[in-house]
């Protein structure tokens, strides 16, 4: 600032900066619909509440039940497996596809226009479509015997989890590869030219130039995947309905069932609070890794 002070004295019009008042309407709105409910869900986790009478304060009852609940342990485990499975499948495909699509050849442009078509379908539409395509009686398994061996993909736990990963990836790889395509296009061309002069081949260029340059996008994309994974509710409801049995009943799904099917809002709030904790830890870790919180321009875009 001191550098500017002399000039400010010479030129009377000072730079008027917007005050906090500009942020107030949005802040209030966000407080009412996001922050207050966060506090609310924590409070409700210490109550028994059926949604009709007023909530009864029960102290740690929900929480002691929560830590002894084997279904919760299983839901947490499946949530984790899905999260890891989704990232492991989607990240490599998205990076390779995005980098490939960043090339300027005409055929790549045409193909990538087709690749992005799943973006047009909502999660509900995608899940319903795949549920029918994978239907054991009339869908692909009944016609393409060599691939499915006549079995019902939704019949087993492993099969259902595989279906959830497959369908989620089908829907979201186009989105993530689009992020990578944009980032890959903004890598300075001179880096590759210098490497080529040094005799680096395609693979070495990819490993030593492309991947490091995509670091921020990887963090952005992973953030989206983690948050998407923790909120994956519609896909489970419409694709496996938590089944077989409760094998794919992930945390958001069991929270929904507990609250809006069995009307046990207090206990559901305990599950919800746990979800909140997981999301916050993940987000803090990822923002620390990315340096978004330093408000520097690396966060251009997002």
């Amino acid at each position: 600032m001191s550098k500017h002070r002399a000039r400010d004295r010479a030129a009377p019009p000072t730079l008027e900066r917007p005050g906090v008042a500009w942020a107030v309407p949005g802040l209030l709105f966000f407080l009412v619909f996001a922050i207050v409910p966060m506090a609310g869900v924590l409070y409700l986790s210490f109550t028994h509440w059926d949604g009709l009478s007023s909530p009864q304060f029960t102290g740690l009852e929900n929480w002691s039940r929560f830590f002894g609940d084997s279904q919760v342990r299983q839901s947490t485990l499946v949530t984790g497996v899905l999260l890891v499975g989704n990232i492991a499948v989607q990240a490599p495909i998205s990076i390779l596809l995005g980098v490939w699509a960043a090339g300027h050849q005409r055929n790549r442009a045409v193909l990538s226009a087709i690749f992005f078509l799943p973006l047009l379908l909502s999660t509900a539409a995608t899940a319903i479509m795949w549920r029918q395509l994978l239907d054991p009686n009339f869908g692909l398994p009944s016609k393409v015997d060599w691939l499915f061996g006549g079995s019902n993909p939704f019949g087993s736990k492993a099969g259902s989890i595989a279906c959830l990963v497959l369908v989620t990836s089908w829907q979201f790889v186009p989105f993530h590869s689009l992020l990578y395509q944009g980032a890959a296009r903004s890598i300075p061309h001179t880096l590759y030219q210098a490497a080529a002069i040094d005799g680096a081949g395609r693979v070495r260029q990819f490993v030593h130039i492309t991947l490091p340059q995509l670091r921020n996008t990887m963090i952005t994309s992973t953030t989206f995947m983690v948050i998407g994974g923790l909120t994956a509710f519609d896909i489970v409801l419409l694709l496996t309905n938590g089944g077989p049995g409760t094998d794919t009943s992930i945390l958001p799904f069991s929270m929904y069932q507990t609250a809006f099917r069995t009307y046990d809002y207090g206990y559901a709030s305990a599950i919800a609070s746990f979800l909140l904790l997981l999301a916050t830890v993940a987000s803090v870790l990822l923002t620390k890794l990315s340096g978004y919180d330093k408000m520097t321009s690396t966060m251009e875009g997002l």
């Binding site: 008027e16 906090v20 909502s122 539409a125 009339f138 921020n216 923790l230 987000s283 966060m299």
Partner: protein
């Protein structure tokens, strides 16, 4: 400098084309065939008879009304998000002091709030406001949960405006309001487009808020309409998939007319 073609990558891209293409082909193919043919031949048959009956079934069930509701929700969400997020981002980028920094951190943290986790109190709030089973009961929470990403995208865009331009505005005697309207908004057009795309996608993809905050036919959105279709027309797969196909029409229209903006918007969101 010419590079030799990368055959391996090309082959992999073709594999992905099959993975994307076959289900989409099966979707369209099933939606235009009679039910008897579907049960006989399955989703990947060669099309011989094309029928529009499935689409008539869907339209007769009132599906167009759900599409209209979704369009209303998406437009209102984008309008609210821009009206709130643009001033927030402006204050965050140009304001001074710990409060504006705190505001930014709050929205960063807000990125991680899963809507599922707060749906129970949110349901209470919407109820208390008398908005249960109205489109506003869906629009307001959707907009609130689109705010963090929008603030992040918009403040990223506004940070790139050079200080000299602000100084020039100040020399002209412009206050913060005029600077926002004549400098900041025009200069962050692409960030505004990106934020709009995100908010619209969120509204159009939304499932939980329409499921919890509304129940009547009047306030049903496309995603919920599809969900109900599963139980109503579960046995009639061609009609079900015709509904799935129709649900993509609004975004397809956007895609056809604003493909460049849509793709650029999503691409710009990746960060460098």
């Amino acid at each position: 400098m010419r590079t030799r073609p990368n055959y391996l990558a090309g082959a992999a891209a073709l594999v992905w084309l099959v993975i994307i293409g076959v289900p989409l082909y099966a979707l369209v193919n099933t939606a235009v065939q009679p039910q008897t043919k579907y049960t006989d031949k399955g989703p990947v048959s060669i099309p011989s008879t094309v029928t529009w009956d499935n689409f008539h079934t869907v339209v007769d069930s009132g599906f167009l009304h759900y599409i209209w509701n979704t369009v209303v929700v998406a437009v209102a969400t984008v309008a609210i998000v821009l009206a709130l997020a643009v001033p927030i981002s402006y204050a965050v980028v140009r304001g001074r002091g710990w409060i504006t920094k705190g505001v930014f951190r709050l929205f960063l943290l807000g990125l991680a709030i899963p809507s599922q986790a707060v749906i129970i109190p949110l349901f209470l709030i919407v109820n208390d406001l008398g908005l249960y089973d109205t489109l506003w009961g869906i629009i307001l929470p959707t907009a609130a949960f689109a705010l963090p990403v929008s603030v992040l995208v918009l403040s990223g865009g506004m940070r790139d405006i050079s200080n000299e331009l602000y100084e020039a505005m100040a020399l002209d005697g412009a206050g913060p309001a005029r600077t926002l309207v004549t400098l900041v908004i025009p200069m962050s057009r692409s960030a505004i487009a990106t934020a709009s795309v995100f908010a619209a996608l969120q509204a159009w993809n939304g499932f939980l808020f329409p499921l919890i905050m509304a129940q009547s036919e009047d306030t049903k959105l496309v995603t919920l309409g599809l969900y109900n279709f599963v139980s109503e027309y579960g046995a009639n797969v061609p009609a079900l998939l015709a509904a799935v196909l129709m649900s993509a029409v609004p975004i397809l229209v956007v895609y056809l007319f604003a493909r460049r903006a849509l793709v650029a918007g999503l691409m710009g969101a990746g960060g460098k």
